[in-house]
Protein backbone atom coordinates (compact mmCIF):
# COMPACT_ATOMS: atom_id res chain seq x y z
CA UNK A 1 0.00 0.00 0.00
CA UNK A 2 2.70 2.43 1.19
CA UNK A 3 4.92 1.25 -1.64
CA UNK A 4 2.18 1.69 -4.15
CA UNK A 5 1.52 5.26 -3.14
CA UNK A 6 5.23 5.97 -3.39
CA UNK A 7 5.42 4.46 -6.85
CA UNK A 8 2.46 6.43 -7.96
CA UNK A 9 3.92 9.67 -6.72
CA UNK A 10 7.20 8.85 -8.45
CA UNK A 11 5.33 8.24 -11.65
CA UNK A 12 3.43 11.53 -11.45
CA UNK A 13 6.66 13.36 -10.72
CA UNK A 14 8.33 11.77 -13.70
CA UNK A 15 5.55 12.46 -16.14
CA UNK A 16 5.25 16.05 -14.95
CA UNK A 17 8.99 16.48 -15.37
CA UNK A 18 8.80 15.04 -18.84
CA UNK A 19 6.01 17.37 -19.85
CA UNK A 20 7.95 20.34 -18.52
CA UNK A 21 10.97 19.21 -20.52
CA UNK A 22 8.77 19.03 -23.59
CA UNK A 23 7.30 22.46 -22.91
CA UNK A 24 10.75 23.96 -22.46
CA UNK A 25 11.95 22.17 -25.55
CA UNK A 26 9.00 23.53 -27.50
CA UNK A 27 9.53 27.13 -26.42
CA UNK A 28 13.28 26.85 -26.79
CA UNK A 29 13.03 25.11 -30.13
CA UNK A 30 10.71 27.69 -31.57
CA UNK A 31 12.78 30.54 -30.22
CA UNK A 32 15.85 28.86 -31.70
CA UNK A 33 14.39 29.24 -35.17
CA UNK A 34 14.24 32.95 -34.47
CA UNK A 35 17.71 33.54 -33.13
CA UNK A 36 20.41 35.66 -34.62
CA UNK A 37 24.10 35.43 -33.99
CA UNK A 38 24.20 39.17 -33.53
CA UNK A 39 23.38 41.06 -30.44
CA UNK A 40 20.90 43.88 -30.66
CA UNK A 41 21.67 47.45 -29.84
CA UNK A 42 19.62 50.63 -29.92
CA UNK A 43 19.95 53.15 -32.69
CA UNK A 44 18.57 56.57 -33.46
CA UNK A 45 17.43 57.17 -36.99
CA UNK A 46 18.56 60.78 -37.46
CA UNK A 47 16.11 61.21 -40.34
CA UNK A 48 13.19 60.47 -38.03
CA UNK A 49 14.42 62.34 -34.96
CA UNK A 50 12.55 65.56 -34.32
CA UNK A 51 14.94 66.89 -31.68
CA UNK A 52 12.37 66.80 -28.94
CA UNK A 53 14.94 66.84 -26.17
CA UNK A 54 13.91 63.60 -24.49
CA UNK A 55 17.19 61.97 -25.36
CA UNK A 56 18.79 64.18 -22.79
CA UNK A 57 16.26 63.58 -20.04
CA UNK A 58 15.08 60.03 -20.49
CA UNK A 59 18.23 57.93 -20.75
CA UNK A 60 18.84 55.85 -17.64
CA UNK A 61 22.25 57.43 -17.54
CA UNK A 62 22.95 61.01 -16.61
CA UNK A 63 24.45 62.46 -18.68
CA UNK A 64 22.74 60.57 -21.45
CA UNK A 65 24.43 57.96 -23.62
CA UNK A 66 23.10 59.91 -26.57
CA UNK A 67 25.54 62.40 -28.03
CA UNK A 68 25.58 64.69 -30.96
CA UNK A 69 27.88 63.59 -33.72
CA UNK A 70 28.98 65.66 -36.63
CA UNK A 71 28.80 64.40 -40.20
CA UNK A 72 31.59 66.59 -41.53
CA UNK A 73 30.79 65.46 -45.05
CA UNK A 74 27.54 67.38 -44.87
CA UNK A 75 28.78 70.43 -43.11
CA UNK A 76 28.94 73.73 -44.95
CA UNK A 77 31.61 75.01 -42.56
CA UNK A 78 29.54 78.15 -42.27
CA UNK A 79 30.60 81.19 -40.34
CA UNK A 80 27.02 81.70 -39.24
CA UNK A 81 26.36 78.20 -37.92
CA UNK A 82 22.74 77.51 -37.07
CA UNK A 83 23.81 74.79 -34.67
CA UNK A 84 26.44 76.85 -32.90
CA UNK A 85 24.85 80.24 -32.51
CA UNK A 86 21.63 81.18 -30.87
CA UNK A 87 19.27 82.66 -33.45
CA UNK A 88 19.47 85.96 -31.61
CA UNK A 89 23.22 85.94 -31.03
CA UNK A 90 24.51 89.48 -31.07
CA UNK A 91 27.83 88.66 -32.69
CA UNK A 92 29.52 85.69 -34.28
CA UNK A 93 32.04 85.09 -31.55
CA UNK A 94 32.72 82.15 -29.26
CA UNK A 95 31.38 84.11 -26.29
CA UNK A 96 29.29 81.82 -24.12
CA UNK A 97 26.11 83.86 -24.32
CA UNK A 98 26.02 83.43 -28.09
CA UNK A 99 26.22 79.67 -28.00
CA UNK A 100 23.23 77.44 -28.41
CA UNK A 101 24.84 74.53 -26.62
CA UNK A 102 24.07 74.70 -22.90
CA UNK A 103 27.34 73.01 -22.00
CA UNK A 104 29.57 74.74 -24.57
CA UNK A 105 30.40 71.34 -25.98
CA UNK A 106 30.92 72.60 -29.51
CA UNK A 107 34.33 73.88 -30.46
CA UNK A 108 34.52 76.40 -33.28
CA UNK A 109 37.79 76.52 -35.13
CA UNK A 110 38.80 78.83 -37.93
CA UNK A 111 40.01 76.92 -40.99
CA UNK A 112 40.33 79.44 -43.79
CA UNK A 113 38.34 82.42 -44.93
CA UNK A 114 35.31 82.10 -44.60
CA UNK A 115 35.12 78.59 -43.22
CA UNK A 116 34.89 77.30 -39.69
CA UNK A 117 35.05 73.78 -38.40
CA UNK A 118 32.76 72.64 -35.59
CA UNK A 119 33.86 69.81 -33.36
CA UNK A 120 31.73 68.27 -30.65
CA UNK A 121 33.37 67.49 -27.38
CA UNK A 122 31.49 64.34 -26.46
CA UNK A 123 32.55 64.48 -22.85
CA UNK A 124 30.58 67.68 -22.49
CA UNK A 125 27.66 66.89 -24.77
CA UNK A 126 24.50 65.94 -22.94
CA UNK A 127 22.48 65.00 -26.00
CA UNK A 128 19.98 67.81 -25.64
CA UNK A 129 19.56 68.16 -29.42
CA UNK A 130 19.46 71.97 -29.34
CA UNK A 131 22.32 72.20 -31.82
CA UNK A 132 20.75 69.48 -33.93
CA UNK A 133 17.56 71.45 -34.11
CA UNK A 134 19.45 74.60 -35.04
CA UNK A 135 21.52 72.86 -37.66
CA UNK A 136 18.57 71.02 -39.12
CA UNK A 137 16.40 74.12 -39.35
CA UNK A 138 18.97 76.61 -40.56
CA UNK A 139 21.88 74.56 -41.86
CA UNK A 140 22.63 71.33 -43.63
CA UNK A 141 21.61 69.05 -40.81
CA UNK A 142 25.09 67.72 -40.30
CA UNK A 143 24.74 67.64 -36.52
CA UNK A 144 22.68 64.69 -35.44
CA UNK A 145 22.15 62.49 -32.42
CA UNK A 146 23.45 58.97 -32.07
CA UNK A 147 23.59 56.56 -29.16
CA UNK A 148 27.23 56.13 -28.23
CA UNK A 149 27.83 52.48 -27.66
CA UNK A 150 30.89 52.90 -25.52
CA UNK A 151 28.60 54.58 -22.99
CA UNK A 152 25.21 53.00 -23.61
CA UNK A 153 24.30 50.17 -21.26
CA UNK A 154 22.27 48.51 -23.97
CA UNK A 155 19.22 48.28 -21.75
CA UNK A 156 16.88 45.46 -22.62
CA UNK A 157 14.43 48.18 -23.46
CA UNK A 158 15.87 51.61 -24.09
CA UNK A 159 13.99 54.00 -21.88
CA UNK A 160 14.28 56.75 -24.48
CA UNK A 161 12.85 54.53 -27.21
CA UNK A 162 9.72 54.17 -25.15
CA UNK A 163 9.09 57.90 -25.00
CA UNK A 164 10.53 59.06 -28.30
CA UNK A 165 7.59 60.85 -29.96
CA UNK A 166 8.92 60.17 -33.46
CA UNK A 167 9.63 56.47 -33.02
CA UNK A 168 13.16 57.26 -34.07
CA UNK A 169 14.84 54.68 -31.85
CA UNK A 170 14.79 51.01 -32.67
CA UNK A 171 16.73 47.81 -32.16
CA UNK A 172 19.33 47.09 -34.80
CA UNK A 173 21.92 44.38 -35.16
CA UNK A 174 25.13 45.32 -33.45
CA UNK A 175 27.26 45.13 -36.59
CA UNK A 176 25.43 48.16 -37.93
CA UNK A 177 25.12 50.01 -34.69
CA UNK A 178 25.29 53.56 -36.04
CA UNK A 179 23.33 55.45 -38.58
CA UNK A 180 25.61 58.34 -39.40
CA UNK A 181 24.27 60.81 -41.86
CA UNK A 182 26.33 60.53 -44.98
CA UNK A 183 26.84 62.52 -48.08
CA UNK A 184 23.57 63.74 -49.58
CA UNK A 185 24.75 62.98 -53.09
CA UNK A 186 24.74 59.29 -52.26
CA UNK A 187 21.59 59.82 -50.24
CA UNK A 188 22.55 57.68 -47.30
Amino acid sequence: MEKKAENRREFIQKSARLSLVLALGGVGGFALTKTTKDEWVWQIDPFKCTQCGRCESDCVLAPSAVKCIHAYDLCGYCDLCGGYFKPDANELSTAGENQLCPTAAIERKFIEEPYFEYIINEDLCIGCAKCVEGCTSFGNGSFHLQIMHNICLNCNECSIARVCPSDAISRVKSNEAYKVKGDFTTNT
Binding site: Q13, A16, R17, L20, L24, V27, G28, F30, A31, L32, K34, T35, T36, K37, D38, E39, V41, T50, C52, G53, V60, L61, A62, I69, H70, A71, Y72, D73, L74, C75, G76, Y77, C78, I111, E112, Y115, E117, I119, G139, N140, Q146, M148, H149, N150, L153, N154, C155, N156, E157, S159, R162, P165, S166, R171, S174, A177, V180, F184, T185, N187
Partner: protein
Protein backbone atom coordinates in the same frame (compact mmCIF):
# COMPACT_ATOMS: atom_id res chain seq x y z
CA UNK B 1 14.59 53.55 -78.63
CA UNK B 2 10.88 53.35 -78.26
CA UNK B 3 9.07 56.46 -77.31
CA UNK B 4 7.59 55.05 -74.15
CA UNK B 5 10.99 53.93 -72.91
CA UNK B 6 12.23 57.37 -73.61
CA UNK B 7 9.51 58.99 -71.60
CA UNK B 8 10.01 56.49 -68.88
CA UNK B 9 13.74 57.21 -68.68
CA UNK B 10 13.14 60.94 -68.62
CA UNK B 11 10.66 60.45 -65.88
CA UNK B 12 13.10 58.31 -63.94
CA UNK B 13 15.76 60.93 -64.33
CA UNK B 14 13.46 63.61 -63.06
CA UNK B 15 12.44 61.46 -60.17
CA UNK B 16 15.97 60.68 -59.05
CA UNK B 17 17.18 64.22 -59.37
CA UNK B 18 14.12 65.43 -57.61
CA UNK B 19 14.54 63.13 -54.63
CA UNK B 20 18.19 63.91 -54.24
CA UNK B 21 17.61 67.62 -54.46
CA UNK B 22 14.59 67.61 -52.24
CA UNK B 23 17.01 67.10 -49.37
CA UNK B 24 19.36 69.63 -50.87
CA UNK B 25 22.40 70.73 -49.02
CA UNK B 26 21.63 74.32 -48.22
CA UNK B 27 25.28 75.27 -48.05
CA UNK B 28 27.58 73.34 -50.33
CA UNK B 29 30.62 71.72 -48.87
CA UNK B 30 33.54 74.08 -49.45
CA UNK B 31 36.62 73.34 -51.50
CA UNK B 32 39.44 73.96 -49.09
CA UNK B 33 42.67 75.49 -50.28
CA UNK B 34 44.81 75.11 -47.19
CA UNK B 35 45.06 71.35 -47.23
CA UNK B 36 42.56 70.95 -44.44
CA UNK B 37 41.82 67.31 -43.72
CA UNK B 38 38.27 66.64 -42.78
CA UNK B 39 37.90 64.47 -39.68
CA UNK B 40 35.38 61.67 -39.67
CA UNK B 41 32.86 61.18 -36.88
CA UNK B 42 33.84 58.62 -34.28
CA UNK B 43 31.54 55.68 -33.71
CA UNK B 44 32.88 53.48 -30.93
CA UNK B 45 31.81 49.87 -31.40
CA UNK B 46 29.39 48.23 -28.97
CA UNK B 47 30.42 45.37 -26.73
CA UNK B 48 30.88 42.43 -29.08
CA UNK B 49 28.49 39.53 -29.23
CA UNK B 50 31.25 37.16 -28.15
CA UNK B 51 31.41 38.98 -24.82
CA UNK B 52 27.74 38.21 -24.28
CA UNK B 53 28.57 34.55 -24.72
CA UNK B 54 31.23 34.93 -22.05
CA UNK B 55 28.41 36.02 -19.76
CA UNK B 56 26.48 32.89 -20.67
CA UNK B 57 29.53 30.78 -19.89
CA UNK B 58 29.91 32.48 -16.52
CA UNK B 59 26.24 31.91 -15.78
CA UNK B 60 26.66 28.22 -16.60
CA UNK B 61 29.69 27.97 -14.36
CA UNK B 62 28.05 29.75 -11.42
CA UNK B 63 24.83 27.79 -11.62
CA UNK B 64 26.70 24.49 -11.94
CA UNK B 65 28.79 25.31 -8.90
CA UNK B 66 25.69 26.39 -6.98
CA UNK B 67 24.02 23.07 -7.75
CA UNK B 68 27.15 21.22 -6.73
CA UNK B 69 27.38 23.14 -3.44
CA UNK B 70 23.70 22.66 -2.69
CA UNK B 71 23.40 18.99 -3.47
CA UNK B 72 26.80 17.30 -3.33
CA UNK B 73 29.05 19.43 -1.16
CA UNK B 74 26.24 20.69 1.08
CA UNK B 75 28.17 23.89 1.63
CA UNK B 76 26.40 27.07 2.63
CA UNK B 77 29.75 28.87 2.52
CA UNK B 78 30.23 27.89 -1.10
CA UNK B 79 26.80 29.22 -2.01
CA UNK B 80 27.46 32.41 -0.09
CA UNK B 81 30.65 32.88 -2.09
CA UNK B 82 28.74 32.48 -5.33
CA UNK B 83 26.10 34.93 -4.12
CA UNK B 84 28.80 37.51 -3.55
CA UNK B 85 30.37 36.85 -6.92
CA UNK B 86 27.03 37.14 -8.69
CA UNK B 87 26.26 40.38 -6.91
CA UNK B 88 29.57 41.85 -8.00
CA UNK B 89 29.72 40.46 -11.52
CA UNK B 90 26.14 40.25 -12.82
CA UNK B 91 24.97 42.97 -10.48
CA UNK B 92 27.46 45.76 -10.21
CA UNK B 93 29.76 44.98 -13.13
CA UNK B 94 27.19 43.95 -15.74
CA UNK B 95 24.59 46.32 -14.26
CA UNK B 96 22.05 43.57 -13.82
CA UNK B 97 21.28 43.46 -17.55
CA UNK B 98 20.54 41.20 -19.32
CA UNK B 99 19.02 38.94 -16.73
CA UNK B 100 16.95 35.80 -16.95
CA UNK B 101 13.92 37.56 -15.50
CA UNK B 102 13.86 40.19 -18.22
CA UNK B 103 14.58 37.58 -20.88
CA UNK B 104 10.95 36.44 -20.54
CA UNK B 105 10.03 39.54 -22.50
CA UNK B 106 12.60 38.94 -25.23
CA UNK B 107 11.22 35.44 -25.68
CA UNK B 108 7.68 36.80 -25.85
CA UNK B 109 8.67 39.42 -28.38
CA UNK B 110 10.40 36.79 -30.50
CA UNK B 111 7.10 34.93 -30.63
CA UNK B 112 4.92 37.90 -31.46
CA UNK B 113 7.04 40.36 -33.42
CA UNK B 114 8.07 38.93 -36.78
CA UNK B 115 10.78 41.55 -37.21
CA UNK B 116 12.46 40.70 -33.94
CA UNK B 117 14.91 37.86 -33.69
CA UNK B 118 16.21 37.00 -30.27
CA UNK B 119 19.94 36.92 -29.62
CA UNK B 120 21.34 33.56 -28.64
CA UNK B 121 22.63 34.87 -25.34
CA UNK B 122 19.18 36.14 -24.31
CA UNK B 123 17.64 32.78 -25.19
CA UNK B 124 20.28 30.92 -23.20
CA UNK B 125 19.83 33.23 -20.24
CA UNK B 126 16.17 32.31 -20.30
CA UNK B 127 16.59 28.56 -20.76
CA UNK B 128 19.65 27.60 -18.71
CA UNK B 129 18.22 28.38 -15.26
CA UNK B 130 14.95 26.62 -16.09
CA UNK B 131 16.77 23.48 -17.21
CA UNK B 132 18.99 23.51 -14.15
CA UNK B 133 15.99 23.99 -11.90
CA UNK B 134 14.28 21.03 -13.46
CA UNK B 135 17.35 19.01 -12.54
CA UNK B 136 18.54 20.44 -9.24
CA UNK B 137 15.90 22.80 -7.81
CA UNK B 138 16.18 26.57 -7.67
CA UNK B 139 19.95 26.74 -7.41
CA UNK B 140 19.79 29.68 -9.81
CA UNK B 141 18.03 31.65 -7.09
CA UNK B 142 20.62 30.54 -4.58
CA UNK B 143 23.70 31.69 -6.37
CA UNK B 144 23.29 32.98 -9.90
CA UNK B 145 20.59 35.64 -9.77
CA UNK B 146 21.85 39.15 -9.05
CA UNK B 147 18.47 40.30 -7.74
CA UNK B 148 18.31 37.36 -5.40
CA UNK B 149 21.88 37.94 -4.31
CA UNK B 150 21.41 41.52 -3.23
CA UNK B 151 18.32 40.60 -1.22
CA UNK B 152 19.88 37.51 0.27
CA UNK B 153 22.79 39.48 1.68
CA UNK B 154 20.65 41.98 3.57
CA UNK B 155 18.56 39.47 5.51
CA UNK B 156 19.15 40.11 9.21
CA UNK B 157 16.04 39.47 11.23
CA UNK B 158 13.57 37.54 9.10
CA UNK B 159 10.07 37.30 10.43
CA UNK B 160 7.82 34.39 9.70
CA UNK B 161 4.87 35.18 7.48
CA UNK B 162 1.66 33.26 8.03
CA UNK B 163 0.82 30.73 5.38
CA UNK B 164 -2.41 32.33 4.23
CA UNK B 165 -0.65 35.63 3.66
CA UNK B 166 2.20 33.94 1.80
CA UNK B 167 -0.25 32.13 -0.42
CA UNK B 168 -2.27 35.26 -1.10
CA UNK B 169 0.76 37.40 -1.88
CA UNK B 170 2.08 34.51 -3.92
CA UNK B 171 -0.56 35.27 -6.56
CA UNK B 172 1.09 38.60 -7.40
CA UNK B 173 3.99 37.07 -9.36
CA UNK B 174 1.50 35.35 -11.65
CA UNK B 175 -0.27 38.64 -12.33
CA UNK B 176 3.07 40.32 -12.90
CA UNK B 177 4.16 37.57 -15.28
CA UNK B 178 0.88 37.81 -17.17
CA UNK B 179 1.10 41.57 -17.49
CA UNK B 180 4.74 41.42 -18.53
CA UNK B 181 3.92 38.96 -21.29
CA UNK B 182 0.90 40.98 -22.39
CA UNK B 183 2.85 44.22 -22.60
CA UNK B 184 5.84 42.59 -24.28
CA UNK B 185 3.60 40.78 -26.77
CA UNK B 186 1.80 43.96 -27.75
CA UNK B 187 5.11 45.77 -28.12
CA UNK B 188 4.08 48.26 -25.45
CA UNK B 189 6.73 48.10 -22.82
CA UNK B 190 9.17 45.86 -20.96
CA UNK B 191 7.70 46.34 -17.51
CA UNK B 192 9.99 43.86 -15.79
CA UNK B 193 13.00 45.92 -16.80
CA UNK B 194 11.32 49.21 -16.18
CA UNK B 195 10.25 48.41 -12.64
CA UNK B 196 13.26 46.35 -11.64
CA UNK B 197 13.76 47.76 -8.14
CA UNK B 198 17.46 46.98 -7.89
CA UNK B 199 18.76 48.09 -11.24
CA UNK B 200 19.17 51.64 -9.97
CA UNK B 201 21.40 50.34 -7.22
CA UNK B 202 23.42 48.19 -9.60
CA UNK B 203 23.97 51.12 -11.91
CA UNK B 204 24.44 53.50 -9.01
CA UNK B 205 22.44 55.90 -11.12
CA UNK B 206 18.73 56.08 -11.76
CA UNK B 207 15.71 58.21 -11.39
CA UNK B 208 15.13 59.24 -7.83
CA UNK B 209 11.94 57.25 -7.30
CA UNK B 210 13.55 54.05 -8.60
CA UNK B 211 16.43 54.40 -6.17
CA UNK B 212 13.95 54.97 -3.35
CA UNK B 213 12.05 51.86 -4.44
CA UNK B 214 15.25 49.82 -4.43
CA UNK B 215 16.24 51.01 -0.99
CA UNK B 216 12.72 50.40 0.30
CA UNK B 217 12.91 46.82 -0.94
CA UNK B 218 16.26 46.31 0.73
CA UNK B 219 15.03 47.77 4.03
CA UNK B 220 11.97 45.59 3.91
CA UNK B 221 14.21 42.68 2.94
CA UNK B 222 15.97 42.85 6.28
CA UNK B 223 12.82 41.54 7.90
CA UNK B 224 10.77 40.02 5.11
CA UNK B 225 13.42 37.88 3.50
CA UNK B 226 13.74 38.24 -0.27
CA UNK B 227 10.47 40.12 -0.79
CA UNK B 228 10.95 40.54 -4.54
CA UNK B 229 11.79 36.87 -5.09
CA UNK B 230 8.83 35.63 -3.13
CA UNK B 231 6.07 38.07 -3.89
CA UNK B 232 6.90 39.65 -7.23
CA UNK B 233 9.42 37.84 -9.37
CA UNK B 234 7.69 36.67 -12.56
CA UNK B 235 10.53 34.33 -13.46
CA UNK B 236 10.07 32.77 -10.03
CA UNK B 237 6.72 31.48 -11.25
CA UNK B 238 8.43 29.42 -13.92
CA UNK B 239 11.21 28.31 -11.58
CA UNK B 240 8.60 27.31 -9.04
CA UNK B 241 6.93 25.01 -11.59
CA UNK B 242 10.23 23.49 -12.63
CA UNK B 243 11.41 23.01 -9.09
CA UNK B 244 8.30 21.12 -8.00
CA UNK B 245 9.27 18.31 -10.31
CA UNK B 246 13.03 18.57 -10.16
CA UNK B 247 15.02 15.39 -10.45
CA UNK B 248 17.24 16.14 -7.48
CA UNK B 249 16.82 18.66 -4.72
CA UNK B 250 18.72 19.92 -1.75
CA UNK B 251 17.75 18.16 1.45
CA UNK B 252 18.10 19.49 4.96
CA UNK B 253 19.54 16.36 6.43
CA UNK B 254 22.49 14.49 4.93
CA UNK B 255 20.95 11.12 5.70
CA UNK B 256 17.83 10.56 7.79
CA UNK B 257 15.69 13.12 9.56
CA UNK B 258 15.50 12.36 13.29
CA UNK B 259 12.75 14.91 13.89
CA UNK B 260 14.86 16.95 16.27
CA UNK B 261 13.17 20.14 15.07
CA UNK B 262 16.45 22.04 15.11
CA UNK B 263 15.98 23.24 11.55
CA UNK B 264 12.43 24.50 11.93
CA UNK B 265 13.36 28.14 12.38
CA UNK B 266 16.40 28.11 10.13
CA UNK B 267 14.68 29.05 6.89
CA UNK B 268 14.17 32.79 6.48
CA UNK B 269 11.63 32.12 3.72
CA UNK B 270 9.24 29.79 5.59
CA UNK B 271 10.09 27.19 2.97
CA UNK B 272 10.40 24.19 5.27
CA UNK B 273 7.46 21.82 5.28
CA UNK B 274 6.74 20.19 8.61
CA UNK B 275 5.73 16.56 8.97
CA UNK B 276 2.01 15.83 8.86
CA UNK B 277 1.14 12.37 9.97
CA UNK B 278 -2.54 12.02 10.62
CA UNK B 279 -5.09 12.63 8.01
CA UNK B 280 -7.36 15.41 9.11
CA UNK B 281 -10.26 13.97 11.07
CA UNK B 282 -12.90 15.17 8.68
CA UNK B 283 -11.19 13.85 5.58
CA UNK B 284 -14.52 13.05 3.95
CA UNK B 285 -15.60 16.65 3.99
CA UNK B 286 -12.14 17.61 2.81
CA UNK B 287 -12.54 15.49 -0.27
CA UNK B 288 -15.88 17.11 -0.90
CA UNK B 289 -14.30 20.54 -0.52
CA UNK B 290 -11.55 19.57 -2.91
CA UNK B 291 -14.02 18.51 -5.57
CA UNK B 292 -16.03 21.67 -5.05
CA UNK B 293 -12.97 23.89 -5.35
CA UNK B 294 -11.81 21.98 -8.41
CA UNK B 295 -15.19 22.51 -10.04
CA UNK B 296 -15.01 26.18 -9.17
CA UNK B 297 -11.82 26.70 -11.17
CA UNK B 298 -13.65 27.19 -14.49
CA UNK B 299 -15.90 29.68 -12.73
CA UNK B 300 -12.84 31.59 -11.56
CA UNK B 301 -11.48 31.52 -15.09
CA UNK B 302 -14.68 32.86 -16.61
CA UNK B 303 -14.84 35.55 -13.95
CA UNK B 304 -11.21 36.37 -14.63
CA UNK B 305 -11.69 36.71 -18.35
CA UNK B 306 -14.72 38.89 -17.72
CA UNK B 307 -12.67 41.22 -15.55
CA UNK B 308 -9.90 41.14 -18.15
CA UNK B 309 -12.37 42.06 -20.87
CA UNK B 310 -13.69 44.94 -18.77
CA UNK B 311 -10.18 46.19 -18.09
CA UNK B 312 -8.72 45.87 -21.56
CA UNK B 313 -9.19 49.53 -22.37
CA UNK B 314 -7.35 50.58 -19.26
CA UNK B 315 -4.55 48.13 -19.93
CA UNK B 316 -4.29 49.35 -23.51
CA UNK B 317 -3.74 52.92 -22.35
CA UNK B 318 -0.11 52.07 -21.67
CA UNK B 319 0.50 51.80 -25.39
CA UNK B 320 1.70 55.15 -26.72
CA UNK B 321 -0.47 55.06 -29.87
CA UNK B 322 -3.61 54.24 -27.92
CA UNK B 323 -2.78 56.86 -25.34
CA UNK B 324 -2.21 59.56 -27.94
CA UNK B 325 -5.32 58.68 -29.90
CA UNK B 326 -7.50 58.75 -26.80
CA UNK B 327 -5.96 62.00 -25.71
CA UNK B 328 -6.63 63.68 -29.04
CA UNK B 329 -10.18 62.43 -29.16
CA UNK B 330 -11.05 63.46 -25.63
CA UNK B 331 -9.18 66.76 -25.66
CA UNK B 332 -8.93 67.97 -29.26
CA UNK B 333 -7.91 71.43 -28.04
CA UNK B 334 -4.54 69.92 -27.10
CA UNK B 335 -3.57 70.24 -30.75
CA UNK B 336 -2.66 73.81 -29.92
CA UNK B 337 -0.73 72.94 -26.79
CA UNK B 338 2.83 73.99 -27.57
CA UNK B 339 4.22 72.14 -24.58
CA UNK B 340 2.85 68.73 -25.38
CA UNK B 341 5.74 67.22 -27.27
CA UNK B 342 3.91 64.07 -28.28
CA UNK B 343 0.98 65.95 -29.76
CA UNK B 344 3.17 68.51 -31.48
CA UNK B 345 5.39 65.83 -33.00
CA UNK B 346 2.37 63.94 -34.20
CA UNK B 347 0.88 67.06 -35.76
CA UNK B 348 4.17 67.95 -37.41
CA UNK B 349 4.53 64.46 -38.84
CA UNK B 350 1.59 65.14 -41.13
CA UNK B 351 0.03 61.79 -40.37
CA UNK B 352 -3.77 62.01 -40.45
CA UNK B 353 -5.55 61.54 -37.16
CA UNK B 354 -7.67 58.81 -38.72
CA UNK B 355 -4.58 56.71 -39.38
CA UNK B 356 -3.53 57.03 -35.77
CA UNK B 357 -6.99 56.10 -34.58
CA UNK B 358 -6.99 53.05 -36.84
CA UNK B 359 -3.67 51.91 -35.39
CA UNK B 360 -4.88 52.51 -31.88
CA UNK B 361 -8.02 50.51 -32.58
CA UNK B 362 -5.99 47.60 -33.88
CA UNK B 363 -3.83 47.71 -30.77
CA UNK B 364 -6.91 47.73 -28.60
CA UNK B 365 -8.13 44.63 -30.39
CA UNK B 366 -4.86 42.92 -29.46
CA UNK B 367 -5.36 44.00 -25.89
CA UNK B 368 -8.93 42.74 -25.93
CA UNK B 369 -7.82 39.19 -26.68
CA UNK B 370 -4.76 39.45 -24.50
CA UNK B 371 -6.66 40.73 -21.49
CA UNK B 372 -9.21 37.94 -21.71
CA UNK B 373 -6.47 35.33 -21.78
CA UNK B 374 -4.65 37.11 -18.95
CA UNK B 375 -7.83 37.20 -16.89
CA UNK B 376 -8.53 33.53 -17.44
CA UNK B 377 -4.96 32.71 -16.47
CA UNK B 378 -5.20 34.66 -13.25
CA UNK B 379 -8.55 33.02 -12.52
CA UNK B 380 -6.90 29.64 -12.98
CA UNK B 381 -4.13 30.62 -10.59
CA UNK B 382 -6.54 31.84 -7.92
CA UNK B 383 -8.73 28.78 -8.32
CA UNK B 384 -5.89 26.31 -8.03
CA UNK B 385 -4.33 28.18 -5.12
CA UNK B 386 -7.59 27.79 -3.24
CA UNK B 387 -7.92 24.16 -4.27
CA UNK B 388 -4.41 23.39 -3.07
CA UNK B 389 -5.31 24.60 0.41
CA UNK B 390 -7.27 21.45 1.07
CA UNK B 391 -4.85 19.02 -0.52
CA UNK B 392 -3.51 16.64 2.07
CA UNK B 393 -0.04 15.23 1.62
CA UNK B 394 1.48 12.89 4.11
CA UNK B 395 4.98 13.87 5.19
CA UNK B 396 7.21 12.16 7.68
CA UNK B 397 10.20 14.41 7.77
CA UNK B 398 11.19 18.04 7.78
CA UNK B 399 11.98 18.91 4.24
CA UNK B 400 12.27 21.97 2.02
CA UNK B 401 9.18 22.83 0.06
CA UNK B 402 10.44 22.28 -3.45
CA UNK B 403 8.43 25.07 -4.97
CA UNK B 404 9.45 27.77 -2.50
CA UNK B 405 12.95 26.69 -1.46
CA UNK B 406 15.70 28.80 -2.98
CA UNK B 407 18.33 26.16 -2.22
CA UNK B 408 20.23 28.71 -0.22
CA UNK B 409 21.60 26.02 2.06
CA UNK B 410 21.07 27.80 5.38
CA UNK B 411 19.04 24.99 6.91
CA UNK B 412 21.67 22.34 6.22
CA UNK B 413 23.95 23.70 8.90
CA UNK B 414 21.25 23.23 11.51
CA UNK B 415 20.87 19.51 11.07
CA UNK B 416 22.81 17.58 13.73
CA UNK B 417 22.74 14.30 11.84
CA UNK B 418 26.12 13.13 10.60
CA UNK B 419 26.51 11.67 7.18
Amino acid sequence: MKKTTYIFLAFLFLLTTFTSFSQEQRFPKPEFETGYVQPSPETPEPRTASMELVDVAILLLVISLASYFAIRRRSRTGILGLTLFTLLYFGFYRNGCICSIGAIQNITLAFTDPTYAISISALLFFLIPLIYTLLFGRTFCAGACPLGAIQDLVIIQPISIPRWLRKTLGIIPFIYLGLAVLYAATGTDFIICRYDPFIGIFRMDAEFHMVILGIAFLLMGMFVARPYCRFLCPYGVLLNWMSRFSKWHLSITPSKCIQCKLCTTSCPFDAIDFPIQEKPANSRSNVRKFILYALLIPVWMVAGSFVGMKLHKNLAKAHPDVYLAELLISQPELIHDEDNIDVQTFMASGKPLEALIEEAKAKREDFYMGSIILGAFIGLVIGSTIMNQVVFRRREIYQPNRADCFSCGRCMDYCPVEK
